[in-house]
């Protein structure tokens, strides 16, 4: 059974790019436009999410908020989360990791790098 990745970004273009890219590698992809949307989608789903890729700067609920909420839930305490942000600052990286993210990638990035990162967590 293929594994499910949730992609969260307020730019439809990024979402589309990532989902094409990940689907091409055989993963199932779910998408959300912000943190709020992501939480709603996760709670209404029957299938579980195996990995989350999220942006940081988003309306309604930002990446930090999403990560904190995900870590508080029973089900997703261990789910790997990759931050994909255009914030390059060390502060953001530290804040993201301490909120509970597993990896921090900066846009622009090499797609292969993301795919390697993803395959590190998923088989």
């Amino acid at each position: 059974m293929s594994q499910t990745i949730l992609v969260v970004d307020d730019s439809p273009t990024v979402v589309k790019f990532l989902s094409f890219s990940l689907k091409g590698k055989g993963y199932d992809v779910l998408t959300a436009r912000d943190g709020m949307d992501a939480l709603e989608k996760m709670s209404s789903l029957e299938t579980s999410v195996d990995l989350i890729i999220t942006d940081l700067n988003m309306p309604n609920l930002d990446g930090y908020g999403l990560i904190e909420a995900v870590r508080e839930s029973q089900e997703h305490q261990e789910t790997p989360i990759i931050i994909l942000s255009s914030e390059e600052g060390v502060e953001d990286r530290e804040r993201g990791i301490s909120a509970g993210a597993s990896s921090y990638l900066v846009k622009p990035f090499k797609s292969t790098l993301l795919l390697t990162e993803v395959s590190k967590y998923l088989n």
């Binding site: 790019f17 890219s21 590698k25 846009k107 090499k110 795919l115």
Partner: protein, 589 residues
């Protein structure tokens, strides 16, 4: 993103880039509007955050797709916005000008991406200036705040003054702005029609729902018909058939509406660029103008949206340039120094009304009269007799301008006839009202969509024709005595107006001179842009909603015929093209 193994196919990449362009266009439009608003509300943190996020998103996405120039520029903009947001910089006219200039360059960069022309814009100058203005501003802020931190809040004015006139020493430290060749700006923003459209998921859902209902109706229709064919008629077949027909009827009109709605876009998409336009015009002409926009959520067909932009730009420019007076002139007249231009949109039946209203000096009706005579458009006796409303129409003639001085933006006399041509193309109407020193109001009436029209069925010379109902002003039953002749052409005197009349059947049969007047003729008064024409017909047959079908290549160019349609009774009828009819009528007179 020249990566080979990223799991994205070439056509998928193309789709992604198209999406990016649509997304970026929207974000940049919002940047334009929000930056102008920021000028008047520099302390609005929510607004600043929104602006920051728009620049940030464009940066993130473009970097993702490898459009380095877009990334570089938005990155520099983002730096400034971030400092503004954290109050490390202050909103000054200079910074705003730079940000808006960056947005303009961004538009060019995106066009380059869109057209895949591989062209690059030299960004050195703008980037250098974006960087310089940060240091400048920060240095000034520091210089002011250094002596005593506490004084800073008490003396915001000093700071603002220093901002606008930076010390000479710093001026030299900054790159030589004036001597550097300005970044090549393409003034003509190339327009390529979008081939994709973003549709609200809710609208797609309602379409699917209706499709489902249509399938159900078809099933029941097939069943009933097969029962009838097998002669299993039990008497209730007719009833079942009636019920199904009623629901097919209902579903079809709902479907039609749903499909039409998919092409509808809010007119705000066009209005969005006007705050910037008015701001720039006001700055250039040293006037104070406030633009008030309402009804931007009113929806119009995509094709209409694409065509309406240019005429509106002309009209708003006219209002700012010729309408609204200079602050001194306004105050002398007892008006507030700041002029107001109101742009509004709204729906009225199956039409959209767009109005542009200014509180400026109004049209000089005597100057127009004189100019019309000078240009040989009418005789002196004619113009004296014409009511003011009619006189205003002369401004729609090509090359007509009463401006004493040609400015950069208007007064060349090319504006209003372009407006007329565009509105005519859209089958719209345009009306103008003006009072000296009170202002001018221009009202444009447009059909909601060009694909489906409400048709007025008329009979002329034993043939049935369809006239677009949205262009019909009124229908009148006249007496022969109401018709008189002007230059040997028949005209109808209707209240205070003189309207040229033609005989539809004769005209379309090629008998252009033929003019047969029945005892008590019916006249349909139709309008196009600013003009009116009376069409003589024999009988009214009713109204019907019709879908325009083109006549095909070999008949498509028939003047005066827009296309054909199949009516409820299965017969093919011709739809009259008013633009063609007007030009035939003009040739005659």
């Amino acid at each position: 993103m020249a990566n080979d193994d990223i799991g994205v196919e070439l056509d998928e990449m193309k789709e992604i880039i198209e999406d990016f362009l649509v997304e970026a266009d929207e974000l940049i439009a919002s940047l334009d509007t929000n930056l102008v608003t920021l000028e008047t509300a520099p302390d609005d943190l929510d607004l600043l955050n929104e602006i920051f996020r728009a620049a940030h998103t464009v940066k993130g996405t473009s970097s993702f797709l490898g459009f380095e120039q877009v990334t570089d520029l938005t990155h520099k903009m983002e730096d400034i916005l971030n400092k503004l947001r954290k109050s490390e910089l202050k909103v000054t006219p200079r910074i705003m000008d730079l940000l808006l200039e960056s947005v303009d360059i961004l538009k060019v960069l995106l066009d380059n991406v869109r057209e895949q022309n591989g062209e690059e814009v030299n960004l050195d100058d703008i980037v250098a200036r974006l960087i310089a203005c940060q240091d400048d501003n920060a240095a000034v802020a520091e210089a002011v705040s250094e002596p005593s931190q506490a004084d800073r809040a008490d003396e915001p004015t000093t700071e603002a003054e220093t901002d606008s006139a930076p010390p000479a020493a710093e001026e030299t430290a900054a790159p030589p702005v004036s001597s550097a060749p300005p970044t090549e700006k393409k003034v003509v923003h190339k327009k390529s029609t979008e081939q994709t459209i973003r549709v609200d998921v809710g609208r797609l859902d309602s379409l699917m729902l209706l499709m489902g209902e249509l399938v159900l109706a078809r099933n029941s229709l097939v069943q009933t018909v097969s029962r009838i064919n097998k002669h299993e008629e039990t008497g209730d077949s007719a009833e079942a058939l009636n019920g199904t027909v009623a629901s097919v009827n209902y579903i079809t009109s709902e479907l039609q509406l749903a499909v039409m709605k998919m092409r509808m876009q809010p007119v705000g998409k066009v209005f969005g660029k006007f705050p910037r336009l008015v701001r720039d015009l006001a700055r250039d002409s040293k006037k104070q103008i406030q633009l008030e926009i309402s009804g931007e959520s009113t929806e119009l067909d995509k094709s209409v949206i694409e065509e309406i932009g240019d005429p509106l730009v002309h009209l708003i420019r006219n209002s700012c340039d010729h309408g609204v007076e200079s602050p001194a002139e306004r105050e002398a007249k007892g008006k507030p120094a700041k002029g107001v231009v109101k742009l509004s949109a709204g729906q009225e039946g199956s039409n959209i009304i767009i109005a542009i209203q200014d509180d400026g000096k109004g049209l000089d009706v005597d100057a127009i009269r004189a100019k019309a005579v000078e240009r040989g458009l009418a005789t002196e006796a004619d113009v004296e007799r014409l009511p003011d409303r009619e006189v205003f129409r002369f401004i729609f003639e090509a090359g007509f301008s009463t401006a004493k001085k040609v400015t950069d933006v208007s007064g060349r006399g090319v504006g209003m006839d372009v407006v007329r041509t565009n509105i005519e193309k859209l089958n719209g109407l345009i009306e103008l009202e003006s009072t000296v020193d009170i202002g001018t109001t221009i009202t444009i009436k447009l059909p909601l969509t060009l694909a489906i029209l409400q048709g007025l069925l008329v009979e002329s010379d034993e043939d049935v024709f369809i006239l677009p109902l949205s262009s019909v002003h009124e229908t009148v039953k006249t007496e022969q005595s109401d018709v008189s002749y002007l230059n040997q052409r028949p005209v109808l005197r209707l209240r205070d107006e003189i309207i040229p009349i033609i005989n539809l059947g004769e005209l379309l049969k090629g008998n252009e001179q033929g003019f047969v007047l029945t005892e008590k003729p019916y006249v349909v008064v139709v309008g196009l842009a600013d003009r009116k024409l009376g069409i003589i017909i024999d009988r009214f047959l009713g109204q019907e909603e019709v879908v325009i079908k083109s006549l095909g290549q070999y008949l498509g160019a028939t003047e005066g015929i827009a296309g054909a349609t199949i009516l409820g009774d299965g017969r093919i009828r011709l739809i009259v093209d008013l633009l063609g009819l007007f030009s035939i009528a003009r040739r005659l007179s």
